[in-house]
């Protein structure tokens, strides 16, 4: 165990691609925590999907041993935080477990929206913040300008910002010294009753649930019986250790330390992030202030393309949920799609990550229905309820009014693209709250309906600004508006999985866009197919997919029978990637693609 004066706990705050992972790798490597040849690039981003998308989803942690210039040995605990807005709640929870942050800014780019969002969370958590200007090896690096920008926009002193190249290793030593000298050591009392903060937990196929803890007071040892203060459940600690970054057992964890325990816990759901863990006997009286639990905000239906795979899907969803308490699900049945699940996610990225994992790791083809946010429905009879699924939309004549969730969005964008961004926000029913400049970049703040953002806002923003804008948001509350349910009819039959909630004023535009998209997405059939968007019984947009004109094999003789039949069978298997609605086959990808708007 290390005494408090020789511990530093910190996280790294950065916008995507500013070099957080590279810097973390360098810190770990330069202190010899991992041998160079064992160094897997970007050690902290472990999951495949994370690696592929270059994002961090689950908080990871590593303990670094460092002997400082003053000759003393320190233990530095780094908790890595996710970078994407969908996972903002995880950022805030990780930050509560440490005392300081490195604010990494790409010195060729400057401050971005995510930098802002995360750094405010660090400030909220009372962190000492050390600014780090990264990528100084690049010719476009402009440290003075970026330091000034940090002072202007964030309002913290950046005169002592450390200039680093995580690529070449320049400035890494200075960074380690700054961690030791500028960040405060943790506080805590070794002799007080045990109080450990449950920072995170996840499921491991071999060890069961692994719990990441930060010890506030007292000491935790292997073999002890501990109690979760939220529900009183008692567990026996069977392993205790730290991450370096592989798991290394230790005898005990004392105040200020960060490490893991396992205690034969079967499900992640049995652990509550933010909970306080204490000893069963002579435990603490008062728990630590908890975290706000994360709430799903986006809902959609997941159905197997092949209905015979429903049980496999159930299995996959249950397994994924074991490791992700922020993901909710319940069974859903749809007339057209059969059995599936209505699932709740933290945001669209979270949705895509889960969907990709089901398709890839469990090899199940999915139909994803139109994502929806939670609407508050107030009925004429005075009752009200939360609508998670447009399919459950009641008879409009019984509804008094509807409310939808709104967000506050912050967008940083180079001047030249400002016009496009304002137009995009305006098109999405935004209300401008603020517009300021920081150098040649504008910072706009908008009040926007969540449902306009959830789907493809981020993609659109990236495309209209050629990738130069950055974006972050937080939920603000609910507001009444003129919302309606728009149905899509394919060949005169309503396809529930495509119905969405829209603002009445935008219904025609959205409806037209959707039917046009579907016309391209649905393959031609032997007959012509009307595709319509409707509100109640009223058609507001219509397209006709013309019948296929020609699909016949020119030559088919004795030698071709076997081959041609195999070909048809292959195409028949391809049909399995589609679902039949009436007589129309709709391909799996149509359900999501139809919703993506070009404007």
């Amino acid at each position: 165990m290390t005494d408090l004066a020789h511990i530093r706990n910190f996280s790294i705050v950065a916008h995507i691609d500013h070099g957080k992972s590279t810097l973390a790798d360098r810190l770990i490597q330069s202190t010899g925590t991992v041998k160079d040849r064992d160094m897997k690039e970007q050690l902290l981003d472990a999951m495949d999907i994370e690696r592929e998308r270059g994002i961090t989803i689950k908080a990871n942690t590593v303990r670094i041993d460092y002997t400082a210039d003053n000759g003393e040995a320190y233990v530095l605990n780094l908790i890595d935080t996710p970078g994407h807005v969908d996972f903002a709640y995880e950022v805030s929870r990780s930050m509560r477990a440490v005392e300081g942050s490195l604010l990494v800014v790409d010195s060729t780019q400057g401050v971005e929206a995510q930098t802002l969002a995360n750094v405010y969370q660090a400030i909220d958590a009372d962190h000492e913040i050390v600014p780090v200007l990264n990528k100084i090896d690049l010719p476009a690096s402009d440290c003075d300008r970026v330091a000034e920008q940090i002072e202007d926009v964030i309002g913290i002193d950046a005169s002592g910002a450390i200039r680093v190249s995580a690529k070449t290793g320049e400035g890494i030593h200075e960074t380690l010294e700054a961690i030791v000298n500028q960040l405060p050591p943790p506080k805590g009392d070794r002799d007080a009753p045990l109080k450990a903060m449950l920072v995170d937990s996840w499921y491991d196929a071999y060890l069961g649930v692994i719990v990441l803890v930060r010890i506030i007071d007292g000491v935790m040892k292997k073999g002890e019986r501990v109690k979760m203060m939220s529900n009183g459940s008692v567990h026996l600690i069977d392993r205790i250790g730290v991450f370096r970054p592989g798991m290394m057992p230790v005898d005990e964890l004392g105040p200020g330390e960060i490490g893991f325990i396992t205690a034969s816990i079967k499900q992640v759901r049995d652990t509550r992030v933010g909970d306080t863990i204490t000893h069963e006997k002579k435990g603490a009286e008062k728990a630590l202030p908890g975290f706000k639990p994360s709430q799903p905000v986006v809902f959609c239906g997941l159905f197997p393309v092949d209905s015979a795979e429903f049980e496999d899907l159930r299995d996959a969803i249950e397994k994924l949920a074991l490791n992700d308490a922020s993901f909710s699900y319940e069974m859903e049945t749809s007339a057209a799609l059969g059995f599936g699940f209505r699932c709740g996610f933290l945001g669209l990225l979270h949705l895509e990550v889960i969907r990709d994992r089901i398709e890839r790791e469990y090899d199940i083809d999915l139909i994803t229905t139109a994502p929806s946010v939670i609407y508050h429905v107030y009925m004429k009879d005075g009752s009200h309820f939360e609508l998670h699924n447009p399919a459950d939309f009641p008879d409009p004549s019984t509804i008094d009014h509807l409310e939808e969730p709104r967000i506050k969005a912050t967008i940083l964008v180079p001047d030249e693209f400002l016009g496009d961004v304002l137009k995009l926000c305006q098109d999405r029913r935004g209300i401008q709250l603020d517009l300021t400049y920081a150098g040649s970049r504008a910072m706009v703040v908008y009040d926007l309906p969540l449902n306009e953002v959830v789907f493809d806002f981020y993609d659109r923003l990236k495309s209209v600004t050629k990738g130069y804008a950055s974006f972050d948001y937080q939920m603000t509350g609910y507001r009444q508006d003129n919302l309606v349910k728009m149905s899509i009819l394919v060949n005169e039959e309503p396809v529930d999985a495509l119905s969405t909630m829209v603002h009445r004023d935008r219904a025609e535009t959205r409806g037209r866009a959707m039917v046009e998209k579907l016309k391209d997405l649905i393959p031609r059939h032997m007959f012509k197919i009307p595709i319509q968007a409707a509100i109640g019984g009223k058609v507001i947009a219509r397209e006709t997919l013309s019948a296929m004109r020609k699909d016949v094999t020119a030559k088919c003789y004795g030698g071709d029978a076997t081959r041609k039949k195999k070909l048809l069978e292959k195409q028949k298997a391809g049909k399995k990637k589609m679902r039949q609605f009436g007589k129309v086959d709709i391909p799996q990808e149509a359900f999501i693609s139809a919703l993506k708007m070009d404007g």
């Binding site: 032997m526 004109r549 020609k550 020119a554 029978a561 041609k564 039949k565 007589k583």
Partner: protein, 385 residues
């Protein structure tokens, strides 16, 4: 099994796998070889004939077809030896049809007389196009003049002469094709095969197409219009399509190809040849080695087949449906039932009739002109679940 047309009859297919050069669109089992020892090929063909004759004794042969490749590169003596062997081993129908595929070059034309003397009574010529630039684009070695000269020789030697054209070619317009087709019909004897150019994977055209370098192919709508125009023009000239791509005066249909579409039995002899044969009441699909030399050695050694697979009733019914719906006359639902043991899904028939794809009278089911244009989709609908 009864030896009658209701079950499609019995034919023998002889595959000759060599060509003077390889055409860029062609995915047939054809090869360019420097030297061919025809005596070995005669030996191999005759051993295979003997083997099939032993397995299928006393079948009456309705048709023999020399296909390729370019069978018109064979010496007439080779053709003669094969036909003699067939006559020796099987009873043949009085109206036995013997077809040979010929390329319309001057060298080939010189052998036509010899083929007629050997017993070939029908010639199928690969003319492909009636203008020289298009023939060059298709990689053909002959010119239009060569083809017309060869065609005259063919007509002098055979009562039945058919020829093939490929249309929906690069940069071909609808009116180009209409006038080319009218010229073709003016010289047609009794039979004509009109194929829309198909880009087959693994061919030179296929590679060029995948690389985005095969330009000027007709879009779907144009190729549909070309097909429709073809049907109208041929029907008006008395050459209605009796099959998707085949047109004939009534009574002049290719009997050999009808065996395939009516799902009769055929022995497939030669490299890569497929067969469907009935032995002791069980129907089999047969296949042979693809590589000419590998097949040659195997056949000489007494076994050219490298696969013989029993077909289930369902598979047979599906093949019957797939082949038979290509014909104007369609299929016999009773025969479908006797093969499959199940009736063809009546709900599907009703649905496809309702949308105008098939017509159904008594036990006969056939596609409409509209249904024929999307025949693959119609068949898939029957196959699907």
């Amino acid at each position: 099994m009864a030896e009658d047309w209701t079950h499609g009859g019995f034919g023998i297919y002889i595959h000759w796998p060599f060509c003077a050069s390889k055409c860029p669109y062609c995915d047939f089992n054809s090869h360019v070889a420097a030297e061919i020892d025809e005596s070995r090929w005669v030996r191999a063909y005759t051993r295979e004939i003997d083997r099939y004759a032993a397995a299928l004794p006393a079948r009456v042969v309705n048709s023999v077809f020399f296909g390729g490749g370019t069978p018109s590169l064979m010496a007439p003596e080779t053709v003669n030896a094969v036909l003699e062997r067939i006559h020796m081993r099987w009873p043949v129908a009085n109206d036995l049809e013997v077809t040979l595929e010929a390329n319309p070059g001057s060298v080939e034309a010189g052998r036509f007389r010899g083929y007629a003397q050997a017993g070939v009574n029908r010639l199928s010529m690969g003319i492909q196009a009636l203008n020289d630039p298009d023939l060059r684009a298709l990689g053909r070695l002959h010119s239009v003049d060569d083809a017309l000269a060869a065609f005259d020789i063919a007509r002098n030697n055979f009562d039945r002469v058919s020829f093939d054209l490929i249309y929906a070619r690069q940069n071909q317009t609808l009116s180009d094709w209409r006038s080319e087709l009218r010229r073709a019909l003016a010289m047609t004897v009794d039979h004509l095969s009109l194929y829309q150019l198909t880009i087959e994977p693994g061919t030179a055209f296929g590679d060029r197409y995948d690389a985005g370098k095969l330009r000027g192919l007709p879009e779907d709508d144009l190729s549909a219009e070309m097909y429709e125009a073809t049907q109208d023009i041929c029907a008006a000239a008395g050459f209605e399509a009796y099959e998707v791509s085949n047109h004939a005066k009534s009574g002049s249909e290719s009997r050999h190809n009808l065996i395939y579409w009516r799902y009769g039995d055929y022995a497939g002899i030669g490299p890569g040849a497929h067969g469907r044969i009935t032995v002791h009441g069980q129907r089999y699909a047969t296949e042979t080695r693809l590589a000419p030399l590998a097949w040659l050695q195997a056949a000489e050694a007494g076994q050219g087949e490298n696969l013989r697979r029993a077909l289930s009733g369902t598979e047979q019914a599906e093949e019957y449906l797939m082949m038979g719906l290509r014909l104007l006359q369609g299929i016999d639902l009773k025969r479908y039932y006797s093969l499959s043991g199940d009736h063809l899904d009546t709900a599907k028939i009703a649905y496809l009739s309702e949308i105008g794809m098939v017509e159904h009278a008594g036990d006969s089911l056939h596609v409409t002109p509209g249904g024929r244009m999307v025949l693959n989709a119609v068949i898939k609908e029957f196959f699907a679940g």
